[in-house]
Amino acid sequence: MLERIFTGSGFWNPLIWLIAFVVSILIVLILRSLGRPGFKREGDKTKPFLCGNIKDIETISPRSENLYWGFRESLKGYYKVMERFHSGDIRDYIFWFIFVIVLLFLMEVL
């Protein structure tokens, strides 16, 4: 039960990892407690760091679909193909199923 996993090429022992992790968290917490705790609540300290006249923050914070824009932007071509592939058409679902079977069949025959 406490054995490490041996994969033939590497090891993994979560228990020891966990012990080390807990110890290091303790060290970090001790280190952290050296610092100045808390803060005085005054002025606009706790408001987000923004300029301009912003009323409610939730209207300007990025929504989910804006995330990872850079990634989608650079793989635009791929995603265009993929969206066409996932057409949602029930016939395509069946077509790809038949396609795989026929492919297997042809690869076997040829």
């Binding site: 996993i5 914070s61 795989v100 079977i101 069949f105």
Partner: protein, 513 residues
């Protein structure tokens, strides 16, 4: 009693399913209680069965004549019977299905309040459970087909259950159409095999199969059907639809059905067809399909805006990991790194089931609290739904395979065996885990973090009864993550050994070596 466990574990859900409409007439509370007691009993029977298999070896349960000649004239040496044969792999799958079904039922009881037709809902859920368990226990090809169809029909009825929304109907008919075609192909190949060998019994077929053209055709049809049912690209498109549109308890059971199809694949490949059929390109093709699945699943999940759909695409990628391990084991044989790969794949079946299950339960809690699944309209829920946020964090780490969660252990086994075949395999596997981490972090941000939205201020954690199944799955994730060798020794290794020892499976039925 003990020797009838395999029959009971199927009979009990079936009985419950058909009693449900009657019970529902008494009172809704009694219906809930009854459903809970029954799923509890099934779980206990399942655990006893697994214990029995692990202590005594393969269990053979015969419906009908145990010996040839008892029902047919003595000159005809064909026993008329259906057998259930449960070995290590079957026992492992029973555990997986029971974990999912148990948590799903637990979650369903408080999840549905005012919905109509709950009798039928529970009836179908138990029917689905019976179908899944039947697929995992049976030792007969035609029986497998029947249970496959039972599972498909009840699952698609369940997916389309909330007919108020049009998407559920669409997902339901897509699932039903594609899986009935798949099942018909399966039946066709059962017919081919029966025509050639006069046998439907898996062990009998395993013994008699040779490398003829018809057998290869049968293998190809079966593989196609089961790969499709397991959600392997490019036949995976039904899976995100079905997972995302069904209500969370149903999704959990559909996950179990998908894993049962993966079990079918393992059984067909390694026990029935493996040594005798020689299709040279097959392992390479399986590996290629698994890489495509991992790639498509992991990249498509990044562009989804619907919470459940994003999780479902990640589920596609997870199935790819399992198939990657299986393909490597097919290529290298179940020895050396191939055995490690198979171990990883089978372990990942369990981990994937638990992780995905927890993710969908969290999505269900979010939906219950906000009536919203579009991630663009969600945000800031971590303040009000702290427990849900923490469980999601656990599921996030687990399904993207971060240490020390359970996903890491099984993925480690897969990475550190597939690279020996070709480094590209594990490179893509590692990359896809990072992509999955990215999508889950995105989900975490857009649902739980960020400024609080004014229309979501009254979102609350779900009631305690719904937190319990989430808690159970979280504890399982952490337990399996910290003591993976326990699960490997107790559950995974017997399963792998039973696949290595295909002769044992055959001789348990036919006798001899």
């Amino acid at each position: 009693m003990i020797q009838h466990l395999p029959a009971l574990i199927i009979a009990l859900p079936l009985l419950t399913a058909f009693l449900m409409p009657l019970i529902g007439r008494i009172s809704p509370t009694f219906r809930k209680l009854f459903a809970f007691i029954m799923i509890f009993l099934v779980a206990i029977i399942g655990i006893l069965l697994v214990h029995e298999v692990h202590s005594k070896g393969i269990i053979l349960y015969t419906f009908g004549a145990p010996q040839p000649g008892e029902t047919t004239p003595s000159s005809l040496k064909i026993p008329v019977r259906i057998i259930f044969e449960i070995d290590g792999l079957g026992a492992f799958m029973v555990i997986v299905s029971i974990i999912l079904a148990f948590t799903a039922m637990f979650y369903a009881l408080p999840y549905f309040k005012e919905e109509r037709g709950l009798d039928r809902f529970y009836a179908l859920l138990f029917l689905l459970l019976a179908g899944i368990l039947g697929m995992e226990l049976t030792g007969d090809m035609f029986n497998f087909f029947v249970f496959l169809e039972i599972a498909s029909i009840s699952a698609s009825a369940l997916i389309a259950f909330c007919i108020d929304r049009s998407e559920t109907l669409e997902a339901g008919i897509k699932y039903l159409a594609i899986s009935s075609i798949g099942a018909l192909f399966f039946l066709l190949s059962v017919g081919l095999l029966y025509g050639e060998y006069d046998a439907l019994n898996m062990a009998m077929l395993a013994k008699s199969i040779s490398n003829t053209f018809i057998d290869k055709m049968a293998l190809i049809l079966i593989l196609g059907a089961l790969l499709m049912k397991a959600g392997i690209a490019p036949m995976h498109m039904w899976l995100p639809d079905a997972y995302a549109e069904a209500s969370p308890p149903v999704t959990l059971c559909v996950i179990a059905a998908t894993q049962a199809s993966m079990y079918g694949l393992l059984r067909m490949i390694f026990t029935i067809f493996h040594p005798s059929i020689d299709i040279a390109f097959l392992p390479a093709l399986i590996i290629a399909l698994s890489l495509i699945t991992i790639g498509i699943g992991a990249t498509m999940t990044l562009i989804q805006n619907r919470l459940t759909r994003a999780i479902a695409f990640a589920g596609v990628a997870e199935m790819g990991y399992i198939l990657l391990g299986v393909g490597t084991a097919m290529y290298a044989g179940i020895k050396g790194y191939g055995e490690v790969a198979l171990e990883g794949a089978i372990f990942h079946v369990l981990n994937d089931a638990i992780d995905m299950g927890l993710l969908f339960l969290v999505a269900g809690s979010v939906y219950l609290a906000t009536r919203e699944l579009d991630m663009n309209n969600l945000g800031g829920l971590a303040r009000r739904m702290r427990f849900t946020a923490i469980t999601f964090l656990i599921a996030l780490l687990a399904s993207s395979g971060m240490p020390p969660m359970n996903g890491f252990a099984s993925k480690l086994l897969i990475y550190e065996s597939t690279y020996a075949l070709n480094p590209i395999l594990s490179i893509i596997a590692i990359l896809a885990s990072i992509l999955m981490l990215a999508i889950f972090v995105r989900i975490f941000y857009s649902v739980f973090l960020g400024p609080e939205l004014p229309n979501l201020r009254d979102a609350r954690d779900p009631p305690v009864l719904m937190l319990i199944p989430m808690l159970i799955l979280s504890i399982l994730i952490i337990f399996l993550g910290i003591f993976p060798s326990y699960a490997i020794d107790k559950l995974v290794d017997p399963a792998v050994r039973s696949l290595i020892d295909a002769k044992g499976y055959v001789s348990a039925v036919i006798g001899g070596g």
